[in-house]
Amino acid sequence: MIDGHELVDTLLVMRQRGGNDDLCPELVTVARVYAGAASSEDIQIAAMHLDGCELCRETMETMRQWDAPQHDSEHDSVRVIQIGRTSRRRGLGALIFAAAAVAAVVVVGVWQPNEGDLGSSSSREFLVKGKTDSIAVAVQRGTAHFAAEPGSGLEVGDRLGFFYSAREEGFLILLDVSATAGMTVLFPAGKTTSGAIGVGVERPLPDNGAVERLDGCEWLIGVFSSRPLSVADVRAELQQQLPTRGPGCTYQPQINDARTTWVFEVERDEN
């Protein structure tokens, strides 16, 4: 028999025995990759480790889900948008160049786009800080996937997916702006303010698009900011600065409080 305080002491000591979690030494390398402070050797070490460590993979996946841009699942489905301007200047040569650009953004053995679903991401995806704020446009044409470059031709029926890179956390609005057919907010669809984004390279956005027939100049505009911006205000500013006449499609809008305004001129190959 013992006294009451001895009982509590004994129970507390019993409860705290064991349970020390020995971490994999490679976890620090995985953390460097996640923080964007990794060398190419780090990336390979981390990828090899994640291949063999289920708990670390699950850890990465949990963090990746938390850091993914916020969006509503109701907007996940592919939406048809009108993108494209007739162009006779670009042919397949530009598309081959674009395909090479895709290879350049793939982190060796780690980033694995899912066939047939441009908007989804692999459980083995790594996120590293982008050097700049930018957006990559991935094109699915039949069974082929490639990245679109400004000036490369798009065809009616092409499906588009969007991947952003950001140098720091912030907010993003992605719009399709047509000189003749108005604007469509691609991300964040259905919201009144810009959507939160984390740091990273080539992170997928939830909304996709498809190319439809349309005449006139057209652009994809990404507005990166450090604080949330009103979608209505951004639309108004873009509208005010739309080029009204002239043969070219030069458009470099300046948006108040944007840290980066990314512009992609959309051109379409006749097919």
Partner: protein
Amino acid sequence: MNARDYSLTALRERQDVAQAAFWQAEWPRVCEVCERILGPGLVANEVAVDVLEAFLSRYVDHLDDRGALHAYLRMMAVRHCLKEKQKRGRYDFADMDVFFDERDISQEEGSHLRAMMPRLQQCLGALTPKAQQAIRLHYKEGMTNEKVGARIGGSKQYIGRLLQQCREKLRKCLERERPDLYERLVSP
């Protein structure tokens, strides 16, 4: 020292002031991660203590870049919580026989102590987060009152009083919740 004002070098040198600043700055972040996975409460607090203490005592030596500190700490917390979630509610009594032998506890008493464990968890859950931190550091890490105070804030006298109050609260709670077992284990 400001809460954010600690260097990796100072942490690696185990400087008390830097460790206290680290604890103050990182506790809310790590706790938030743990609560997100395990839900708010005792277990999340205990895992957060384990993660911070494991980092300060061992894993800080693995890190050579301050830039990756938060990602690493967050990864440690997520990993530990996922592991905890898998074994939630189960106690590991594997080496308890040795423990009972060392303390001259009979098999019958040992069985009563095991049966009291879920109630202890409930009683611990009623304590303040700071008290839970102090108990974890004192009983699991074997820290002195002075060391616990240096970590979470407070003099050794304050931590001594805090732990004493906790023990009394836990004793009353156990007596109230499991009077049958309490009577069998405690001399009148």
